[in-house]
């Protein structure tokens, strides 16, 4: 084990140069505008930024070896030593398990090596997440510690703060917690009641207030706390602004409530944390005084992408267990796995797991690129897709298992309970959909403003251009964004799917333009429109991710690449029709009234086929074939 650790250190040292460059960059004040055009935002304009996503991001061979050596022991530990059922029953992670996690270095996965962490890249962090998520309580505890708890120090902390806190946090000697939520304040920063007042000697802030639902609240000794402080404006007026603080438990006046009794992730510690006249030195202000809002936003935005791979890891394990049951249980002299309805469920699970894995690793790869690309939309999309797919798949798996899925003696119902939280924490999926849609629309709006203005003013040439383009669209112009063809990025076996993606992207951008033209800035209030925009974008991103990944597998010649192509094609077909449906809904002039009633099955403006919610026959045929393949494969293992 220690040898492995040594190896890691030395390998890490080799990468130090690159890492240093990255960290000097990270020390800049928090960025507000993206330095490079992100992929998802460009989709709103009808462009596919090929160089961002094609080919699928590769991991260097060194890195791969390193991670593989590291993954082995962790996996062994999780499968052999962690008793998830016991953790769930007792509502507590045993101390020896926590100690082992610390000794494996899992408390400092993304802490830079210079501060004693593992300094893993995002891709490697995602890979480890797959294994850690075999026990959701542990995964949540670790995520609360490093994805949000200490992330503030990495992102916004000064040199001194990093040197002071990170080493102990990375080793797990100290556990971190993120204290933002209050009884009256969820996502509403204005209603934060916790207050920090500067003491008379101006050396301390006195912190008062209470926070609720703090993961690790009872274990943590370092808290990232957000509180209101009085800040003098440039024009002399005093305003209340949010400031982030690093608070140690030793500062005094900190009490934690009793652990909450939760539906799932029962092993993780969640409780209230009260601050009563806690004296925080001014050096412990994280970022600037009054700049806590941006710190919080950045922490939240950066922590999301890893959920995709974590859920995929959990799902793969679940599929394995369920398949074992389906292939052994006999009814009417046939295995469950021979029944079409059961096979369909496996296809669904395999497809969802494949898509979320692709999305997660694509995002991780994009984040690992130099130049700190702003991938917060992509990360949010991964979170939304993976959490919802997880809930759906776990539910389907329980269906396959029948009665034993419902019994507490088996692990399945625990997985169901655990996976419900995924849709809620780290920003509920509803709120993230708003974020996805609005951020993209803001970007598109800036570009389109000039054009739209001209249209509104009645500029003849612009109107003519728009009209003629509409006419051409309606005449069935084939959309070609250059994904296929002789030197295309997508493998010819997925040409159809690539065309579907292109067509969706094209019409999506048209719809976005129409929506912006129609609603302008009041689109913020049109939440039903925004939800559909977000759904389409998530589908588009998923399609891109699977096309890119399956193309790579084909070209590299990976084992079972034909399955990947099938999965990709199936997903693209489904997503394509879902998108068409959503687009036709968006195009309705009275969307809201429509929403309250039942949707009418009326014509839509696309030259493409009518809206189908089911798969077209060839895809179903493909699916059946695929199912057999998957089941055979799984049952042979």
């Amino acid at each position: 084990m220690s040898g492995c650790g040594l190896f890691l250190r030395s390998a890490a040292a080799a990468r130090l140069g690159r890492a240093l460059v990255a960290f000097t960059a990270s020390r800049r004040p928090l960025r507000t505008s993206p330095p490079s055009q992100a992929f998802a935002k460009e989709l709103f304009l009808g462009k596919i930024e090929k160089k961002e996503v094609f080919p699928f991001p590769e991991v260097s061979q060194d890195e791969l070896n390193e991670i593989n050596q590291f993954v082995g022991p962790v996996e062994k530990f999780f499968t052999e030593e962690v008793d998830s059922q016991k953790i769930d029953r007792e509502g507590k992670i045993p101390n020896e398990t926590l100690e082992k996690l610390k000794s494996l270095g899992l408390f400092g996965m993304q802490v830079p090596e210079e501060y004693g962490g593992l300094g893993l890249s995002n891709t490697m962090y995602a890979r480890l997440g797959e294994i850690i998520s075999l026990d959701c309580s542990i995964a949540v505890t670790l995520a609360a510690h490093q994805a949000i708890g200490l992330k503030g120090i990495i992102l916004a902390g000064s040199e001194e703060q990093k040197a002071r806190y990170l080493p102990k946090l990375a080793s797990g000697e100290h556990v971190a917690a993120f204290c933002l939520t209050e009884p009256a304040s969820g996502s509403d920063a204005a209603s934060i009641r916790t207050r920090a007042t500067l003491s008379e000697d101006k050396k301390h802030y006195v912190l008062n207030g209470s926070k609720v639902w703090i993961t690790n609240g009872g274990l943590a000794s370092v808290f990232t706390v957000f509180a209101k402080t009085e800040v003098v404006d440039s024009n002399g007026s005093v305003k209340d602004k949010v400031t982030a603080f690093i608070v140690e438990r030793d500062f005094g006046g900190i009490t934690s409530g009793k652990p909450e009794d939760k539906l799932g992730i029962r092993g993780s510690n969640t409780c209230e944390v009260h601050f009563e006249n806690t004296r925080v030195p001014v050096e412990n202000v994280l970022g600037e005084v009054g700049g806590g809002f941006k710190v919080a936003m950045n922490i939240l935005n950066s922590g999301r992408f890893s959920m995709g791979s974590a859920v995929a890891g959990m799902l793969k394990k679940l599929i394995e267990m369920t398949a074992e049951y389906a292939c052994t249980r006999k009814q009417f002299n046939r295995n469950l796995s021979e029944f079409g309805l059961i096979q369909e469920k496996f296809a669904l699970m395999a497809q969802k797991a494949y898509v979320m894995e692709s999305m997660a690793y694509l995002t991780a790869g994009m984040l690992d690129q130099p130049g700190f690309p702003d991938c917060s939309i992509e990360a949010a999309m991964v979170k939304v897709f993976s959490s919802e797919a997880a809930w759906q798949c776990v539910s389907e798996a329980l269906q396959v298992l029948g009665g034993s899925g419902y019994m507490r003696d088996y692990p399945y119902e625990r997985i169901l309970r655990d996976s419900r939280i995924l849709l809620i924490f780290e920003g509920t999926n509803e709120i993230l959909r708003m974020y996805i849609a609005l951020t993209g629309l803001q970007h598109a709006g800036r570009i389109l403003t000039a054009r739209v203005k001209q249209l509104k003013q009645g500029n003849v040439t612009t109107i003519m251009e728009t009209v003629s383009r509409r006419v051409r669209d309606s005449l069935g112009r084939t959309v070609d964004l250059g994904l296929t063809g002789k030197l295309g990025a997508v493998h010819p076996s997925m040409e159809d799917s690539a065309h579907k993606l292109e067509q969706n992207v094209h019409y999506f951008s048209r719809t976005v333009e129409t929506l912006l033209l129609r609603f302008g800035k009041t689109i913020v209030e049109e939440q039903l429109v925004l939800k559909r925009v977000a759904n389409i974008l998530i589908n588009l991103y998923g399609m891109t991710a699977v096309l890119s990944r399956a193309s790579r597998s084909m070209r590299v010649g990976l084992q079972n690449h034909d399955h990947e192509v099938l999965l990709a094609n199936i997903f693209c077909t489904e997503a394509y029709y879902q998108n068409l449906f959503a687009l036709s809904q968006l195009d309705k002039s009275d969307l809201r009234r429509e929403e309250r009633g039942t949707p009418r099955n009326s014509e839509h403006w696309h030259p493409t086929p009518t809206v189908l919610t089911r798969l077209s026959p060839p895809a179903e045929g493909m699916m059946k074939w695929l199912l057999q393949q998957i089941l055979q494969k799984i049952s042979m293992n």
């Binding site: 949010v242 936003m297 920003g427 974020y435 709006g445 609603f519 009041t522």
Partner: protein
């Protein structure tokens, strides 16, 4: 027939428009105002085609005349004697029309006393049946006993129509006006099979009109009290009048419309309203206030609880309601702008009319309105506003909603036993305790004269006017007082 159906519905709604506007209080007392009642009856008479085989217009007119004559008869005896003129002004003046008919100047409010007095005298023969209760207890049992006495001692059922009319009037005294069994019992008095039409001419021309009208009157009173007829009623009616008769038609229509109107009111009013004026005011205020977090405060209890005269002029009750949002709005009100106490406005709760006052301000002129600013750092997760130069154009605004018409904020509502300025000033004083800013804001009393007040007019067969004469006097006093205060 289709057209006539529509007319029927229209007439129905017309008749209830008044109470409809006053807060949905007309269900299930389908026929609240006398006008509606008559229009309904007339439309019933002119649009009904009991044979269902089609009927010429002339026949319909003929029938209508026949029925209107019949109705005139009822009106002159049992009903209130109000006219049909609003319904069929062009109908030829028939010989049999009652003298009260076709008087365009007649008031909408019925004039109950005179005809009823005559009626009571005329029906005196059966009156003694209802006085036979041994200990003077008036309940269901004694009512049933009276009816049974009639059928027992009157084997030939002589005078049964008069008796049924009398019984209908007595029902309220005995508290059985909502009892379906009693209505069926009354219908059971009719001799069976006698009044059934035997040939087509019987069914075209009103067969035994007086008996049919009496049957309709029973159903009418059921309708007024929201009693749904059942299978037994249907069986009795077919036995007495046959399928092709007007009571049966009325029955079918009740079956049709009652189910449709039963739950039409989205803000249901309890069937039995509280008698105590304070409780009633509480209920009415809750009924009007959409905010669930609003608090009802009793600022003043009536002086003597025991006295039935709740509108004691010296210490009338004052009950008010105010929601936290309204309190906040009042706190932010600019003290330089006056606020107004306005009223009284009427609110109907079933058959009761209550009056309320509001405390309101004028809408700020557009240039002084503060635009609600979205704070910069508000939402941790997504942008609350987009940085775009343009908004939604006006042609795309389909948001118009009668609920959102801007007419100035309302800060509080109150109901008081008296509508004069002195009483309402006490309310304002009470409000100042929870709204300190109110002390600095000039309050103007804009109390309308009785224009907003409707006399509680009721149209039931035996109902007495709900507003006691003292109330009228008091209102006159109020008017005088208001005039004094205005001058």
């Amino acid at each position: 027939m289709r057209l006539l159906r529509l007319r029927e519905v229209k007439a129905f709604f017309q008749g209830h428009a008044a109470s409809h506007q006053l807060g949905w209080n007309w269900i299930p007392r389908l026929s609240l105002s006398p006008k509606g009642l008559k229009i309904l009856a007339a439309s019933l008479s002119c649009c009904g085609c009991p044979t269902g085989k089609g009927m010429s217009w002339a026949q319909a007119i003929l029938l209508a005349r026949g029925l209107s004559r019949g109705w005139g008869g009822i009106c002159s005896t049992a009903l209130t004697g109000a006219p049909f003129s609003q319904v069929m002004p062009q109908a030829p003046r028939g010989l049999h029309c009652s003298t009260a008919a076709h008087n365009p100047d007649s008031p909408l409010v019925p004039r109950p006393p005179e005809p009823q007095r005559g009626l009571v005298k005329a029906l005196a023969p059966h009156e003694e049946l209802f006085r036979q209760a041994p200990d003077g207890v008036q309940d269901k049992a004694s009512f049933v006993q009276a009816v049974q006495n009639f059928t027992q001692y009157n084997v030939h059922k002589r005078g049964h129509v008069d008796f049924i009319y009398l019984a209908l009037r007595k029902m309220r005294e005995y508290g059985v006006e909502r009892d379906l069994a009693i209505y069926n019992l009354l219908l059971d008095i009719f001799p069976k099979e006698v009044f059934r039409p035997r040939n087509i001419f019987h069914s075209i021309f009103l067969h035994y009109p007086r008996q049919q009208e009496c049957g309709i009157a029973v159903l009418e009173q059921m309708e007024n009290h929201g009693v749904m007829p059942n299978k037994e009623t249907e069986f009795l009616l077919t036995q007495i009048f046959g399928r092709k008769s007007y009571p049966m038609l009325k029955f079918v229509r009740m079956k049709l419309w009652f189910t449709r109107f039963k739950n039409i009111n989205p803000f249901p009013v309890p069937r039995d309203l509280p008698q105590d004026p304070v409780d009633l005011a509480r209920l009415a205020l809750r009924h009007m206030e959409p905010d669930l977090s609003a608090r009802v405060t009793v600022y003043q209890m009536p002086l003597s609880k025991d006295s039935t005269d709740a509108t004691d002029p010296t210490e009338p009750h004052i009950v008010g309601i105010q929601s936290p949002d309204q309190q906040a709005a009042l706190a932010h009100h600019d003290p330089a702008r006056p606020i107004f106490v306005e009223g009284p406005f009427s609110l109907w709760l079933r058959d009761k009319c209550v009056y309320y006052h509001i405390l309101r301000a004028d809408l700020l002129p557009p240039e002084e309105r503060e635009v609600e600013e979205i704070p910069e750092e508000w939402n941790l997760y997504y942008p609350m506003q987009l940085d775009l130069a343009y908004g939604r154009s006006s042609w795309d605004d389909y948001e118009f909603n009668i609920d959102e018409v801007e007419e100035g904020p309302v800060f509080a509502i109150c109901m008081a036993g008296a509508h004069d300025q002195a009483t309402l000033a006490k309310w304002i004083q009470g409000l100042q305790e929870t709204n300190p800013t109110l002390a600095r804001i000039p309050v103007v009393f804009r109390l309308s004269a009785s224009s907003g007040e409707l006399l509680a007019s009721s149209s039931g067969l035996e109902e007495t006017p709900l507003t006691p004469p003292e109330g009228r006097e008091e209102e006159e006093n109020n008017q005088q007082r208001q005039q004094q205060s205005q001058s």
